[in-house]
Each structure stands twice: as structure tokens, then as C-alpha cells.
Subunit: 429 residues, 2 copies
């Protein structure tokens, strides 16, 4: 039994109660959202009660950090450290996107270290193992695919990105139009390579029921990947992207009916004025399914600062109803991120999520801003530090830049507006 199948029978599970408690909402609201497919709960049956995390309508916007090796950068200690940093910096979930080294080993180390909900893109393991064992992605079989998916599910992965919408139909539509970047999704790249060489349909689409069986068995959330996401703002909201979304909407319905939890993944590179409409469209086409967006980044010209370009898009997306933000690090479009970049990516994404939560009216969001501002007004630095998204940096500022008057800061020094106004009003009274 899965969370959605319990919910649809009107049963409230311990996981739903746990999520309700975390969010300060009633278990009934959570159960209703899960039943409708508007909320998912990470709870692989192996780990169900360890770290249930609710993602969806009415809940705090969650953020994910992508970590993992590549063929060029394959250091298990480094990835373990990234998982630690993700935990400390407050990522709600992580995805292990490793493609270099012993992938199962990387996954286990990352999973144990983070000790929270974990996602993967199984096609990475399938493709890289096929390359090693058979000499090329094109030799992959359907059985290879589902074997690895089941292995990962058994290992306790909570959500998996599956590019089920990468179909011949969408690919033909892509070829019939012009795009700047074509396909930028690694998962889609693997599948398209296989599909073209074998002249076959995507097995994840063709054998979707087999995928549903596995997902149901372990209550793994299917995160329906956007293989045709725009990789340039000039490609945003085009026919290929929206065609894939339509297919994901159909699959979402099938999955929910079968008792399988589903999220939808979204773009990508999107100009600022198309972000909100992309959220609206997903919510309509996919019947309110939780929307998991990568960024989105609102300009292509800032490699090295994509934690900022994605915080802009992410904040707008969250405020428009996106439920789950995938962080983007400063290193995106330049290389695999280091520890500090992982940390910066998480903080930027948390800022975006919180800015959105203020607009969504999430319980406690605006209140935290007000509390911090009250502390700021009182020049109470300890309390400001406690309430800040990154307490360490404020402590660092305070110790590095000591003002002569301890209550102010070095920005205005003697001429602190807060202090001056307070004094003036006091005298006036």
C-alpha cells in the first residue's frame, strides 16, 4: 500500500500525521492533498517513518540539492562532504546524480550521510553500467532499465526522475521546430540515443505499467522528468516542452489511479515573464500535481552566478505555486560544484523558497521576517543571528567588523538611522 492508496481509502497514515505536524496543518488536509495527487510524501517503504517530507499544495516550499560524481570528478569523500553540507545548510532532499565511479557505492554513502529523503535518476546508473559492460548505451535493454530501478527502490530511494515523456512524438515535434539548445537533459540524451539507434519507443513510456508496479511496491515517488526542458531562455515554453508536459499530465493520471505518487519536473531556462504562466500551465495540465522546478534561471548570460539567476526564477515560481525547487549552484554551466558552491546553492534556493512562501501565506513565513526585523529594530544582534537563514555569516560580519558602538554596525557607525530616529522620537515624546 502507498500513501496515495491509503489516502484515497480515507485512511490517515503516520506519515501524513508527521507531515501535518511539520507543517502545522491538520492531518485531514494532508490526506486530502495526497488523495488528490496534489501532495506527495517521501516515504520509500524501507525508510517510511524516518524522514517523511511533504511536497505540494499548501505546504512549505521544499528545496533539493543535486550532488554526485562525474567521470571527470569522482571523489567519494568530496561527495560525502557535500551530503553533510546539504544536511547542515538545510536542504530538504538531495538527489544523487553520480555518473562516475561505483554508482551504488556513491549512492549508499550519500544516502547514509544525508540521512534524509533522497532522489536519483536511475537511467544514469543504467546507461553508465551498460557503457561499461556492453560498450554503448544503445545496447541497453528494457530489462536492464527496470532491474536497476527496482534495485534502487529496494535500496530505499524515495523519488526517482524518470523521463517517461521523452517519446518519439515529442522528439519529432522538436525536430520540426528550431531550437537553440535542443536537448540538455542527460537522461533524455541517453534515451534519445537509444531510441534512434534501436528505432524504438522509450521503454519508460512503453512499459509505464511495469514502472508503476515497482513504484507501487516500494512507494517510490515518480518524478516525471522534463527531458525536453529548455536549456536556453530562447527555447522556453516552446511546442516540444509543452508537448512533453501534455504527456506527463496523462501519465500522472494513470499513475495516481494505480496508487502511485507523482511529481512533475519543470524548466529550466525561462525568461522572468514566462515563469508564472509555466507554473499555472503545469497545475492545469497535470491536475495540480506537485511541481518540481529546476531553477528556473531567468537569463543565460551569468555562468558563475546561477545560484542568483535561479533564485530569481525560483522565487517567482514558488510564489506562483511551484512546490519544490531544485537548487542551481554557481558552478552550473562551468563544472561540477565544490563544497562551498553546494552550500551557496542551497542558501540561494532557501531564500527563493522563503520569498515564495511569504506570498503563498505559508504559516510562519512572514512571521519570521517580522521577528527578525523587530530584533533589527532593537539592534539585538543575537536574535537577528538566530533568525537569519545563515547565522554563521552574520556572526562572521560581527566579529570581523567591530563598530565602536557595539549596538550598531560599521555600515552607518555613529549615524545609524535606527538609533538616531529612536533617540529623536524619545526626546520628542
Amino acid at each position: 500500500m502507498t500513501q496515495i492508496s491509503y489516502a484515497r481509502k480515507g485512511e490517515i497514515t503516520p506519515e501524513m500525521r508527521a507531515v501535518a505536524k511539520q507543517e502545522g496543518l491538520s492531518p485531514e488536509i494532508i490526506a486530502k492533498g495526497v488523495a488528490n495527487g496534489e501532495i506527495v510524501i517521501t516515504c520509500n517503504s524501507k525508510y517510511s517513518l524516518k524522514h517523511p517530507c511533504g511536497i505540494g499544495k499548501g505546504l512549505r516550499t521544499k528545496i533539493n540539492a543535486n550532488i554526485g560524481s562525474s567521470t571527470d570528478c569522482c571523489d567519494i569523500k568530496l561527495e560525502k562532504k557535500k551530503a553533510q553540507v546539504a544536511r547542515e545548510a538545510g536542504a530538504d532532499t538531495i538527489m544523487d546524480l553520480s555518473t562516475g565511479g561505483d554508482l551504488r557505492k556513491f549512492r549508499k554513502v550519500i544516502q547514509e550521510t544525508f540521512a534524509g529523503p533522497i532522489g536519483t535518476v536511475p537511467i544514469y546508473q543504467i546507461a553508465t553500467e551498460t557503457v561499461k559492460s556492453k560498450g554503448g548505451i544503445v545496447f541497453m535493454t528494457s530489462n536492464d532499465i527496470f532491474k536497476v530501478i527496482e534495485e534502487q527502490a529496494k535500496d530505499g530511494v524515495d523519488f526517482i526522475t524518470v523521463h517517461c515523456g521523452v517519446t518519439r512524438e515529442v522528439f519529432d515535434r522538436l525536430c520540426a521546430q528550431k531550437r537553440i539548445m535542443d536537448i540538455v537533459s542527460r537522461g533524455a540524451a541517453f534515451l534519445i540515443t537509444w531510441m534512434l539507434a534501436n528505432k524504438k519507443e522509450n521503454p519508460l513510456y512503453e512499459h509505464f505499467d511495469r514502472l508503476l508496479d515497482i513504484a507501487y511496491k516500494y512507494d517510490v515517488i515518480l518524478s516525471l522528468g522534463d527531458g525536453f526542458r529548455p536549456g536556453a531562455i530562447g527555447d522556453a515554453t516552446d511546442r516540444a516542452q509543452i508537448q512533453e508536459l501534455l504527456i506527463l499530465g496523462e501519465l500522472k493520471e494513470r499513475a495516481n489511479k494505480r496508487g502511485v505518487q507523482v511529481m512533475i519536473e519543470g524548466p529550466g531556462h525561462v525568461p522572468l515573464n514566462e515563469v508564472a504562466m509555466n507554473i499555472q500551465l503545469e497545475k492545469k495540465i497535470c491536475q495540480g500535481a506537485p511541481f518540481y522546478v529546476l531553477g528556473p534561471i531567468v537569463t543565460d548570460i551569468a555562468p558563475g552566478y546561477d545560484e542568483i539567476t535561479s533564485a530569481i526564477g525560483g522565487a517567482i515560481a514558488a510564489s506562483a505555486g511551484a512546490d519544490f525547487l531544485c537548487y542551481v549552484t554557481p558552478a552550473e554551466h562551468g563544472g561540477l560544484p565544490n563544497i562551498d558552491e553546494v552550500r551557496r546553492g542551497i542558501i540561494a534556493s532557501k531564500i527563493a523558497a522563503h520569498a515564495g512562501d511569504i506570498v503563498k501565506g505559508i504559516k510562519g513565513a512572514k512571521e519570521r521576517d517580522n521577528e527578525l526585523s523587530k530584533a533589527r529594530k532593537k539592534l539585538d544582534w543575537d536574535r537577528q543571528t538566530k533568525l537569519a537563514i545563515d547565522p554563521e555569516i552574520l556572526k562572521k560580519f560581527r566579529s570581523e567588523r567591530k563598530p565602536k558602538m557595539s549596538e550598531v554596525c560599521t555600515m552607518c557607525g555613529d549615524y545609524c538611522a535606527i538609533k538616531i530616529v529612536e533617540d529623536a522620537i524619545k526626546k520628542h515624546k
Copy 2:
């Protein structure tokens, strides 16, 4: 004669032609905007043709960097270096907000080093000199105020922030409501202190015509300050803020009639969903006057990362029609920024402005993204570097993180989606 007085007589000045050339627009469009008060051109008569910069409707969104000393941090070499960095990183203008040390000396060094349009807040010099010479802000006179303003105008300052809307009326309205942060503007704090102690109206409001005479004589742009800007998102868009805006709208009309160029300054701390409406409101109330926003920052809880909170607000503001973004550095709310923080603030602000320019349809904005993405598709790293907002950081990534295959990056290594898809499509054809 000033730019606006020429424009209203139908004359096109060399400064207007220079701005038209920079923006790729016709001189007639610029002249029309200047005549309407929808565009301003920085052109203190002393420096008029050295660095005219157009700010307003239809033009590229400009960004300003605040630098300058405080009583706690008063190092002229450091501020000189910040002015250099501002120039190199591409700030369109700088404001010298010094309040510590020999202010005139700081201003001259900063002005000469930046060698571009410069703004100031003259009340800082007036207040700090009065404290030194007379023992308190409350002993300041109207003559002191206008003497310093004229001195700065004569020294070639292009725009000055003048808190003319800090009136008794607005202050009373502020006191009649509840605010978390009251007043966070240093200029307003000085003026209110003086007004309460002396039981008088703000001289910058009462003797506005005297201010106009000076501004007209040197063609200094009046940047009408928002002394009652919200300093907490909980205070945003309240009656005090909007009352001040109404007064600024009246003053803008008077100034334009007198042949004086005007910008309006805007908040501050604003929740994401109130940013666009604040821009719309300013444009209505102030008859399309160029809007110069500080940030805005969309959450209070991220001290240490306010380049990000303000990039979010700034991007939305720019896309909604804000013309001029004042950067916010990571150090805001923690101390005076160092060199690196000034640089980060400028880049974040440039990202926000550019994201807005894509939406505004500014000539060349979206095209630059497309060019960079085309280079990315071709895995042409040199061209990506050339087109990036910060070429240095991409160079650094490339040299620090060398992939085995030189054309890809270490993020995906052998499994670069761009490369895989290209190969697959080539074989397919």
C-alpha cells in the same frame, strides 16, 4: 539651460545624441522622453559630455553602486579601490555615501577614480559637518544645507538624493500607524531629528524652489529620496510610504516645470507580490518619472545574502518598469562592504537589470542570451566567456576544473548531454 529645458523647446542636445547612440535609439525618442520627464540624463554642466547616462523609459536598466566611508570604517584607499572595482565590474553610476573622514576629499577621490556619473546624499555632509562644528545635527541651518548642495553641484555631482518628502504630514501619518522599523533612511533620520527639535518643516520641502535654482544652474538631477521607505517587508506599501510618494509626485511636477530633471527613489523591503504594483503606482503618481529602486529585497531573513534577496526584487522591479536599480551588497544589514562584496553586489544587480531588460524588450538584451546559448551549444568556451556577465569566473572554472575531453565541462564529463544528443542526431540523419 538644462537637458529638460532644451528638450521642451524641441532642441536635441549632444548629450541626448550620445545617449541615443548608446541605447541604439533615435535622438528624437530620447528628447521626447527627457521633455516628458520620463528620461533623465546625467550631465552636470561641469562634466556634461564626459559621461552622459540616460535613465528611464525604453532605455537599458541602469545600476548604481553605493560606496563611501562610515565613522567606523574610514579608509580612503579602500574606497578608491571600491570605485575602481565599480568601474571594472560595470556599474553605470556610483553614489558616494561617505559619512566618516574628510567627506569632500573622499568624494573627489571617488569621483576621479570612477570617472563616470556620480551621485551623493548632501545631507550626509551637512549633518556630519554640523555635528563636528556645532556639536549636533539640531544646530543645522537652511543656509548650511543649501551651501553644501551648491558646493557639491559645483564639484560636478550629477545627481543628488534629497529627502524632500520627509514632511511633518508624513511623519504624523507614520506616528498614527504602527511600523516594525519606523525610519531606516539616514537622510530622513537626520532631517526628522532636526525637525522635531526645531519644531519646523523640512527645509528641503519648505524651500524647494531654492533647491530647484541650484539644480537648474548645474543641471543636477534631483533624486527625490524615499525617507519613509519600508525597512521591513512587514512595513511595505503602508500609508506613510504612499503618503510620501504622493508628495514626491507633486514635487516632480514642480521641478520639471522649472526645467529640473527628476528621478523618484523607491523601496526598500517589499514582499515579492507587491513589487510590480509599487512600480506601477510610482509610474502613475509621478507621471512616468524614472524610478530608482533600492533592491528591493523580498525577505528580511537573509543578512549576508542581500545581493540575492535584492536581485530577486530588482529583477521583478525592472521587468515591471523600474529604470534604475541601486545594488545591495551581501554585507547590507551587517556592516560596510569590502571590495569583494561591492563586486558581488554589482554583478547581482547587473543580472537583475538584464533579466528585466529581457522582459522590457530592450535592444540586444535577449539577443545576448541567445548568442551565449548558441556558443554553449557549440561547446565554444571562449565565446561563452566573452559573452558572460563575468568573464573572469568562467575562465577560473575552466582552468581550475579541467575535463578529460576539453570541449565539455566536469559537470557531466563524458556524459555531456549536448555532445551525446549531437552525436545521436548526426548518426540518425
